[in-house]
């Protein structure tokens, strides 16, 4: 039981990390960035390349190396997010929503198969594993690796929350989410803030990609597809556009999946997650913490 809860929370913290990028971008420009899951994949591969360049890592140095790789990867994926927005989304900001969604699908496709052409179709084995023994806590087996990764995830999320609620930049983001045109009139550089939002979201997704690579030990070019869907589900459960809600949604989805797998069997895990998504959309489309939004005409 406590094992199920712990597993759920652990996987859920990954979901939350990826979902935040989805949610922030949706909150600020009402765009579903389908390529977000592929930024996660790009992060995993960037980390893989950096680790390859570093060479062998002694077990004692694994954690500092991981942190270093995380920083580099976050910079790379963050910049890719900015470039993606600049090329594919900004020119279409005032176009019909369908066009924007289609470019997002195109971007996702280009990233996946671009990576396939670059790195090959076969899964790669991640060269870095955090060793460490397991500890027993309330009957759950918890490895030190899981604790370390979870701490990183929590630190990143706490940092993001501080940034959005306490800084000038965060205030600008929230203002644009409410009303982009008035924000521009108030002297906020809307384009620049949207760019930086993409940077933050993509950096978090990249970090999650590296952490997933380290934890699962295997990466492939389609790994972002499913997690993109799961992240969106998390965002919807918590209330898309709402940052604490999204974190909550991620953890909740992790827990639901963990119990769902236990009851129904692992092969039904993904079906169960989407079932939850459809249920939530029919019963409470604004999510647990989301507010009802009236469409402006």
């Amino acid at each position: 039981m406590s094992q199920l809860i712990w597993n759920g929370l652990f996987v859920g913290s990954f979901y939350a990390l990826v979902a935040l990028g989805y949610s922030m971008v949706y909150g600020i420009m009402k765009l579903l960035n389908f390529a977000h899951g592929d930024i996660y994949m790009l992060g995993a591969f960037t980390g893989f390349a950096v680790l390859g360049a570093v060479g062998g890592v002694s077990p004692g140095m694994a954690l500092p190396v991981l942190l270093g790789v995380l920083v580099v990867t976050m910079a790379v994926t963050g910049l890719s997010g900015v470039v993606l927005e600049r090329i594919a989304y900004r020119p279409l900001r005032h176009a019909p929503r369908l066009s924007l969604l289609i470019t997002a699908v195109g971007a996702s496709f280009a990233l996946e198969y671009g990576m396939r052409a670059g790195a090959g179709p076969d899964p790669q084995v991640y060269p870095l594993r955090l060793g460490g023994s397991a500890v027993e806590l309330l009957g759950a087996r918890i490895t030190l690796q899981q604790i370390a990764l979870m701490l990183v995830a929590v630190a990143l999320m706490a940092g993001l929350n501080l940034l959005v609620t306490r800084t000038r930049e965060g205030r600008a983001m929230r203002a644009i989410a409410l009303d982009p045109r008035t924000s521009a009139l108030m002297g906020i550089n809307v384009d620049a803030v949207i760019s930086r939002t993409f940077f933050l979201g993509s950096a978090l997704a990249g970090a999650a990609g590296v952490m997933a690579g380290v934890y699962y030990g295997k990466i492939d070019f389609l790994m972002g597809f499913l997690i993109g869907l799961k992240a969106f589900t998390s965002a919807v459960i918590g209330g898309i556009g709402n940052i604490p809600g999204t974190m909550l949604g991620g953890l909740l989805l992790g827990l639901l999946e963990s119990f769902g797998t236990y009851w129904l069997g692992g092969e039904w895990r993904d079906v169960f997650a989407f079932g939850v998504l459809i249920l939530f959309l029919s019963v409470r489309p604004t999510g647990l913490l989301g507010e009802r939004v009236t469409e402006r005409v």
Binding site: K30, L31, L32, F34, I87, A88, P91, L92, A95, P96, R97, L98, S99, L100, L101, I102, T103, V105, G106, A107, S108, F109, A110, L111, E112, Y113, G114, R116, A117, F225, L226, L229, F232, T233, V236, E267, W268, D270, V271, F274, G275, L277, I278, L281, S282, P285, E295, V297
Partner: protein, 321 residues
């Protein structure tokens, strides 16, 4: 319908419309002639197979065009209906020994139900939600087919009876059915319902204000698309006589979407051409297989940026805005 309206608009536009319609008819005839004559040019079994697949793909694209092109709803899991159709007819014909043709009513019923189950909760929401829910739905269907015993699990179903023995006859049959489906979709797009679809696509709030029941209209488009996809699935099952979950991945949904966008959203001739290009291109560009899908993704972005109306845009018969 045309004659009463053209009377009020003066002879010049009526003449223009008549010629444009005649032209379109000419193109359709030319396309059909090419499709019918192709087996006389190359009749290797492989070529016939590729051409049959292309025809089925045209049917898929014309079905998705109803949803995305006419009504402006992005469906990213269109292959789900294709799978539902193929599996329904496959299961019924192999487990219960029904001839394939007898499964068609069941396929229609099941795809309509699937369309309602997915469409009813999501079509009330913003259109973006539909996109991602359909994406999830496509995966659900594939995973379910993979897990259930009745669908044969990962190995799928084999030994599905075909419609005819001879592949060339089957090709002609497919071309015939697909032509009817394409014309049907096009007529549907010009009907009263079709005008409502376009209105919803252009401005949903205005449509609602004008008394269009947007929810019902969108559901109708979604269900029509589902039935088209399901029937294409029956043809697919008949062609291959074996189906497995591996045939129904997101990749196929994305390719159908690409055909519709490339050809021109809402344009029937455009979508037919787009589907043929997308399905035959891999045969031509075999050496570039690694970069092909990458190029497709880039093309989607480029088209949306530079030419959102597609290669062969829909020419509206209503006054342009």
């Amino acid at each position: 319908m045309t004659s009463t309206r053209s009377g009020t608009r003066g002879p010049v536009t009526a003449l223009g419309r008549a010629t444009s319609r005649l032209l379109e008819g000419k193109w359709a005839l030319a396309g059909l002639a090419v499709a019918l004559l192709a087996p006389f040019v190359i009749a290797t079994p492989y070529a016939i197979f590729v051409m049959t697949s292309a025809a089925i793909f045209v049917m898929l694209a014309s079905g998705l065009n109803i949803v995305v092109g006419f009504c402006g709803l992005l469906d990213l899991g269109y292959v789900a209906f294709f799978a539902v159709g193929a599996y329904t007819s496959g299961v019924l014909s192999t487990r219960f020994g029904l001839p394939l043709l007898a499964t068609v009513p069941a396929v229609i019923v099941v795809t309509v139900i699937a369309g309602v189950v997915i469409g009813a909760p999501t079509l009330r929401l913003r259109s973006d939600y539909l996109a991602i829910v359909t994406l999830g739905f496509g995966e659900i269907i594939r995973i379910t087919a993979n897990n259930l015993d009745v669908t044969g699990g990962p190995a799928g179903i084999y030994g599905i009876p075909g419609l005819t023995g001879d592949p060339v006859v089957f090709y002609y049959l497919t071309v015939g059915i697909v032509s009817i489906a394409v014309i049907g979709a096009s007529r549907l797009g010009r009907s009263r319902l079709g005008r409502a679809w376009r209105f919803v696509r252009e401005d949903e709030d205005a449509a609602e204000a004008m008394g269009v029941h947007t929810y019902k209209i969108k559901l109708a488009a979604y269900i029509a698309g589902a039935v088209w996809g399901g029937l294409a699935g029956v043809l697919f099952a008949a062609q291959l006589s074996a189906i497995s979950p591996g045939s129904f991945t997101f990749l196929r949904s994305a390719l159908v979407l690409m055909a519709v966008v490339l050809g021109g959203l809402g344009s029937t001739p455009g979508v037919v051409v787009g589907a043929i290009v997308i399905s035959l291109l891999p045969e031509v560009l075999r050496d570039f297989a690694d970069y092909q899908y990458f190029a497709f993704g880039v093309l989607l972005i480029v088209f949306m940026l530079v030419r959102p109306q597609g290669l062969w845009p829909h020419r509206s018969r209503e006054a342009s805005s």
